[in-house]
């Protein structure tokens, strides 16, 4: 961020700069919008929530003497006469990454004040999120159909069902909340709330394109969590 300028303050790079930023007056994160700093700290806290979930899952799975079902088989999809392992999960991953990419571009066009492009990309992100939630619903119903429940599991350890529904459910809730906000922000972008700096409905804070980046942070975080869930839940 070398081109950021603050009157009377000299930016230094690296750890030297970190020491000076921390020791300086007024702000520690120079040039970072309040809302963006808040979102980062919130995501840090949320990271701890998901870490606790995944650590519990690790503890539960590691300490069970009963056999843990093989996710590669459980989540296989029967396509054209063959079982393709993890097919649905792979598609979900691709959908979520796609939506993450459109979100990143939306943030970019937002800062360039390209209202139309930004709005369409947010809408695309929202639709990607919606697809993801839909596919998750399909996955859930498939498993429930096969007899997996939070309290029991025909393939082995009881905890498999419990952790699966809890962790993907919690992640899915995050996605759903994100989708709702994406639709709201798409509307606000198209309606020009950020160009006109219109005040928020509840907070009465003036609108700004930085809000798109804040929402983007949240959305990328949802994707980030999925990376970990994919690795630990489906590939382990």
């Amino acid at each position: 961020m070398s081109d950021l300028k603050i009157e009377g303050y000299e930016f230094k790079p690296g750890y030297r700069g970190m020491a000076e930023d921390t020791g300086s007056a007024q702000t520690m994160f120079k040039g970072v919008h309040w809302g963006k700093a808040m979102m980062w700290i919130f995501l840090l806290s949320d990271t701890f929530i998901f870490s606790c979930f995944l650590i519990s899952y690790m503890k539960g799975r590691g300490s069970t003497p009963v056999e843990w079902p093989n996710p590669s088989e459980v989540f296989a999809l029967h396509v054209g006469g063959v079982d393709v392992p993890l097919l649905l999960i792979a598609i979900m991953t691709f959908v979520l990454i796609t939506s993450s990419g459109t979100m990143a571009l939306a943030v970019k066009y937002g800062y360039e004040k390209n209202r139309k492009m930004c709005g369409w990309l947010i809408l695309a992100t929202a639709i990607g999120g919606l697809t993801f939630v839909g596919m998750q619903a399909f996955e859930w119903s498939k498993l429930i159909h096969e007899g997996v429940r939070p309290w029991e599991n025909p393939f082995g350890a009881k905890q498999f069902g419990s952790f699966f529904f809890m962790i993907t459910g919690f992640h899915g809730t995050h996605v759903s909340i994100g989708v709702i906000f994406l639709f709201i922000y798409a509307y606000k972008t198209f309606a020009g709330h950020y160009d006109e700096r219109k005040r928020g409905w509840f907070t009465s804070i003036k609108g700004d394109y930085v809000e798109i980046e804040i929402l983007g942070l949240y959305w990328h975080f949802v994707d980030l969590v999925w990376v970990f869930i994919f690795a630990f839940f489906y590939l382990w």
């Binding site: 961020m1 081109d3 950021l4 300028k5 930016f11 690296g14 750890y15 700069g17 970190m18 930023d21 921390t22 994160f29 120079k30 040039g31 970072v32 919008h33 700093a37 980062w40 840090l44 990271t47 701890f48 870490s51 606790c52 650590i55 690790m58 503890k59 799975r61 590691g62 300490s63 003497p65 590669s72 392992p85 993890l86 792979a90 991953t93 691709f94 990454i97 993450s100 990419g101 979100m103 990143a104 571009l105 943030v107 970019k108 800062y111 360039e112 700004d208 394109y209 980046e213 983007g216 990328h220 994707d223 980030l224 990376v227 970990f228 994919f230 690795a231 489906y234 590939l235 382990w236």
Partner: protein, 111 residues
């Protein structure tokens, strides 16, 4: 507001970099899917899973979440608390091994 004007200059990057990262994420996801497809097992599987996972997470955080362009003050504030999580993970690994040991010992050997 003056602040936002400055931000605008700094957080806009060339579209190419986003497309590159986007592509890389697809490729890495494909690779991690291949880990399961070829049914690698044991240490190799774990190494590959973790490498791809951390690469993907790193790319998302660094470029999509702009952490690569943020100043060190923010980056360090966000990353250092992870040591507590690392410690928690490390200890819980020791704990589940012990729990498994006691269960196997008392249920099957000692029981």
């Amino acid at each position: 507001m003056e602040e936002t004007k400055k931000q605008e200059q700094t957080t806009t990057h060339k579209i190419g970099i986003y497309l590159w990262i986007w592509g890389l994420l697809f490729v890495l996801s494909f690779f991690s899917y291949m880990v399961d497809w070829f049914q690698f097992q044991g240490l190799l599987r774990w190494t590959l899973i973790l490498i791809f996972m951390f690469l993907k997470a790193g790319l998302i955080m660094a470029f999509f979440m702009h952490l690569f362009w943020e100043r060190y003050a923010l980056v360090n504030v966000l990353l250092w608390p992870m040591t507590a999580i690392a410690c928690f993970i490390f200890l819980m690994v020791a704990e589940f091994q012990y729990t498994l040991f006691t269960r196997l010992f008392y249920f099957f050997i000692g029981g």
